[in-house]
């Protein structure tokens, strides 16, 4: 096939690409080149993917009727050779929602279409089978909805779950109307049974009063989870017994849950099914159980092929983080924290959801999710590197409360004006980086970045595994061929020694230090970083020292299963750098190429925020997110204390939930003080100001901080009247609270989040926002 495209938007190969069906490397390259040039084409690809996903979703709802009992009987026992079938195909859903670029209009349409059946269908829509031919209706198991979570039925069988404990061997659910689920021939030796489909109301997970329930059930019945899970158990078992399933062929199913509860392995390598099943039977996995898509070479889809260790517990590590509580202004009028512009948590949450599991609570950092998206804030004027916008609306999840949004915008830097860069890539090439979604993805991402660098910029590669090695000494970027060749030679293998690597990398960066330029070490790793230095503390000290020398550190997190979220983030924080998680080439493109200005050029460092609330107007407040960035109030004015770094064009969005004065506060009560009177509002407190916002920052090349002050007054508006951006940010925060199962979530539900999002996207739905909507939908499918 030729790789020229006359009219790319009309070319079927664009759809093939969108679906991951393009196999010819030249054609893939050709499409990607076109995509890089044309945002419209990117949106088209996203839109095609979104449509395809809706189609897939719909088709998957169709029931899978099994053979009749007498037919099964006549088939008898399969011949020996056919009894075991380990190859469970993992559908290639990876392409579904890569770092969202979907068309505004098209996706808005999808969303409204999705919402339509979310909201309007009191009864589950009938399946295609029903509509196709009325003669089928009488006998066919045509109702595709009302399939409850099987696990609920298992734990608390409702009246609808009337199936006998031993069902048909085939685990395909048959609706009760059509087939009486009598125990039959071909009983399964595993003892699996699937309760007959029960009415949605039987599911204890959904409050019976909720009008949404049947729709949600309809939208995302988990009819396949059992099969998938069984498939998983068997695959794992078969792999152990036969040892014939290669790593890459193992399905990525159930992986995330299996991580939580490791199925005990009985002697003989048999996984105890009941245990494994209960660990995961709730998850409608993203893997339709019809079998065997090869693992494809197209890197854009790699994120869906996680390093597959389904039957082993993962060592992913997330630090426990308690949410900020409500605080009384009378006792704590100040709120102080370092500005955080990381967005890694969102990409990580997305990875979990795409793989068909809810993220662990502590992987959800709300501020990073909110800050993943861009909002319309005014650019700073004059000398100030940042501007601030403040707005207040009624809190959508609690009517009596208000929501304060602070939007901070850093000044943008024209790419042409970008100071020259001196970049040292420190690449983890240990054995764990071998999977395609790690080092190979990374290499492609770096290629993308380097393509955009110019002759003023320099690049070096340092690898580390057992020992560190300078693969490419600092080289000007007009010698791209040389750089690419060096990149090609980088392979994974060996254990990890991060320390030697990072020393080498800093030495290289220092050796070619560009005064006034961007001097940065970019560490890319899956987090197995500390074999050289035994504790995280000494590594952090090293990185801090280096940051003072003017060489900052950015950290790129990669891969799954071994991912040390907390330690990577703290490395970046200490290195005056930022931290991003790359789960796909699209994300890599966003971080390294599109946002390069922000990622590589710092316009303000050690930025901190302090807010003083006016007790006359605010009774209590709660900072949403930023838990790991809290500072003591004294630290605000202490220039030796680290804050956050703000890159060119970066935006920071901060949300506070506010309890207005005179409203009952959820903050705890304390007895009045005996020896002093609590501070009372003074004359300034009499004004209609709600608060004063102070931002402290240092220009990147200076060590003395500057202070900016802003105040906010005026009346809050209703949520419906809020700016679309504000509504969207609120929806993201609410989504985060739901995923964290936050006690502060109030009336927020996934469905309401979806509605807020739709309301707030309007006609100019932005690309990543479309993806967010899809993630919420995915979470709905997974919600217990």
């Amino acid at each position: 096939m030729k790789s020229d495209f006359q009219d790319p938007a009309q070319d079927p190969r664009l759809t093939a690409y969108a679906l991951g069906e393009l196999t010819d490397a030249n054609e893939i390259e050709a499409v990607e080149t076109l995509l890089q040039r044309s945002p419209e084409l990117r949106r088209e690809v996203e839109s095609l993917r979104a449509t395809a996903e809706l189609i897939r979703f719909e088709l998957e709802q169709e029931p899978c009727p099994s053979l009749a009992p007498h037919q099964l009987a006549s088939l008898g026992e399969p011949p020996r050779a056919w009894r075991l079938w380990p190859r469970i195909r993992s559908a290639n859903r990876s392409w579904l929602f890569p770092a969202g670029l979907a068309t505004a209009a098209a996706v808005a349409v999808m969303v409204s279409a999705a919402l339509l059946f979310l909201q309007e269908t009191e009864e589950p829509p009938l399946s295609a089978a029903l509509q196709r031919q009325e003669s089928v209706v009488d006998e066919a198991p045509a109702v595709s909805g009302r399939i409850t979570n099987q696990a609920h039925d298992q734990t608390s069988p409702g009246p609808g779950a009337a199936a006998p404990p031993q069902g048909l061997a085939q685990t395909v659910p048959e609706p009760p109307r059509t087939v009486s689920p009598a125990p039959a021939a071909g009983q399964d030796s595993s003892g699996y049974s699937l309760p007959a489909v029960s009415e949605a109301a039987d599911s204890p997970a959904v409050s019976p009063s909720s009008p949404v329930q049947s729709n949600e059930q309809r939208l995302f019945p988990s009819s396949r989870s059992e099969q998938d899970h069984e498939a998983y158990v068997e695959t794992a078992r078969t792999a152990e017994m036969v040892g014939s399933v290669s790593e890459s062929k193992r399905p990525p199913i159930s992986y995330a849950r299996a991580r939580v509860v490791e199925p005990p392995v009985l002697p003989g390598g048999i996984v105890r099914e009941r245990f494994a099943r209960s660990a995961d039977s709730l998850v409608p996995l993203s893997v339709p159980f019809s079998p065997t898509v090869e693992v494809r070479a197209n890197l854009d889809e790699l994120p869906a092929v996680p390093s597959p260790v389904p039957n082993r517990s993962s060592t992913e590590d997330y630090r426990y983080q308690e949410e900020n509580p409500f605080k009384k202004v009378s006792r704590a009028p100040l709120s102080t924290f370092g500005i955080d512009v990381d967005t890694a948590s969102y990409a990580n949450v997305r990875r979990f959801l795409r793989q068909g599991s809810l993220p662990p609570r502590d992987a959800v950092r709300i501020e990073e999710m909110v800050n993943y998206f861009s909002y319309a804030y005014d650019s700073p004027r004059g000398e100030n590197p940042v501007s601030a916008l403040m707005e207040m609306v009624q809190a959508p999840w609690k009517q009596e409360h208000l929501l304060l949004r602070i939007g901070i915008q850093a000044k943008a830097i024209d790419p042409g004006q970008r100071p020259p860069g001196n970049l040292v890539f420190l690449l983890d090439v240990s054995g764990s980086m071998r999977p395609a979604n790690k080092l190979p993805l990374l290499k492609r991402a770096i290629r993308l970045l380097i393509k955009n660098l110019g002759e003023k910029d320099r690049v070096a590669f340092v690898t580390y595994a057992g020992e560190s090695q300078v693969v490419l000494p600092s080289t000007p970027c007009d010698r791209k061929e040389e750089i690419f060749r060096a990149l090609e030679y980088i392979m994974a293998g060996g254990p990890t020694n991060g320390e030697a690597g990072i020393r080498e990398a800093y030495a290289t960066a220092a050796g070619h230090f560009i005064p006034g330029g961007t001097n940065r070490v970019i560490l890319a790793t899956d987090g197995d970083f500390n074999l050289g230095m035994t504790d995280e503390g000494s590594l952090i000290r090293l990185i801090r020292e280096q940051a003072r020398s003017g060489v900052f550190l950015s950290v790129l997190g990669l891969g799954t299963g071994n991912y040390k979220d907390a330690s990577l983030e703290s490395l970046a924080n200490r290195g005056n750098g930022n931290f991003a998680y790359l789960d796909s080439l699209a994300e890599a493109r966003k971080v390294l190429v599109r946002e390069m200005g922000a990622t590589l050029v710092t316009v303000a460092k050690d930025a901190k925020i302090q807010i003083e609330f006016n007790p006359a107007r605010v009774d209590s407040y709660r900072l949403i997110g930023y838990e790991n960035r809290a500072l003591r109030h004294e630290e605000f004015n202490d220039d030796t204390r680290d804050g956050g770094e703000i890159g060119a064009g970066h935006q920071v969005t901060v949300l506070y939930e506010i309890v207005p004065a005179g409203t009952e506060s959820p903050a705890g009560r304390v007895d009045p003080l005996k020896y002093q009177t609590s501070p009372a509002p003074n004359r300034d407190g009499d004004s209609d100001e709600w608060l004063t916002l102070k931002i402290r920052y240092k220009p990147p090349d200076q060590d003395v901080s500057r202070l900016l002050e802003f105040t906010h007054s005026g009346s809050p508006v209703t949520f419906a009247d809020a700016a679309p951006d504000f509504r969207f940010a609120s929806a993201v925060a609410a989504f985060g609270m739901i995923l964290r199962d936050s006690p502060h979530r109030g009336t927020a539900s996934l469905k309401r989040v979806l509605v807020w999002t739709l309301d707030s996207t309007g006609d100019d739905l932005q690309e990543p926002r479309a993806e967010f909507v899809e993630l919420v939908a995915k979470a709905m499918a997974l919600e217990r």
């Binding site: 079927p12 759809t15 009727p65 099994s66 088939l75 829509p125 089978a129 196709r132 019809s290």
Partner: protein, 171 residues
């Protein structure tokens, strides 16, 4: 233990029932498909089992249709509705306001496009596997899917305005 039978009978019955337009016929076809499979040497099918199953299933379904002279079933659904004055299931659905636009859009596609979409999205077959199952070229499959996806999208877009308006009222 999970056998190939457990793994595939559901999807195959679904596919065959769609082809024949009749669940029982579909079941017969699938039963027959498995009987044939039992006679195959596993080595011969190993590596392309889904493709083998869907191909055999499809051929059997077409045989049955031919035999019973019910070829119209495979093509009729869309046109019949439009032709007859009586409201088809789709219209009935719409009246009940249980509108599922995606499903309606899918049903308005020509049978061949519906079939490749099913093989692709319901059964996870690759373009190549679909091509060999249906007996057309890979680029033909690409064209059919491309066209079908775009048609569905256009259909959804057509209905987007009222959809957005309604959803706004519901909280």
């Amino acid at each position: 233990m999970r056998s190939v039978l457990d793994a595939y009978q559901g999807p195959l019955v679904r596919y065959a029932a769609h082809l024949t337009g009749d669940l029982d016929l579909g079941r017969d076809v699938v039963q027959d498909t498995f009987l044939r499979l039992w006679k195959q040497k596993r080595e011969k099918v190993e590596g392309h089992l889904p493709q083998w199953l869907f191909t055999v299933c499809r051929n059997r379904a077409l045989d049955v249709l031919r035999k019973e002279n019910r070829m119209n079933r495979i093509t009729a659904t869309g046109e019949l509705e439009a032709a007859s004055g009586a409201p088809g299931p789709a219209q009935l659905l719409e009246r009940k306001e249980n509108v599922n636009r995606v499903l309606l859009a899918l049903q308005s596609l020509p049978p061949r496009e519906q079939e490749v979409l099913r093989l692709k999205f319901q059964n996870g077959l690759s373009y190549r596997e679909i091509a060999s199952t249906v007996g057309i070229s890979v680029s033909n499959v690409g064209y059919l899917i491309h066209t079908a996806v775009k048609k569905v999208r256009a259909e959804l877009e057509r209905h987007s305005k009222p959809a957005a308006a309604t959803s706004r009222n519901v909280r």
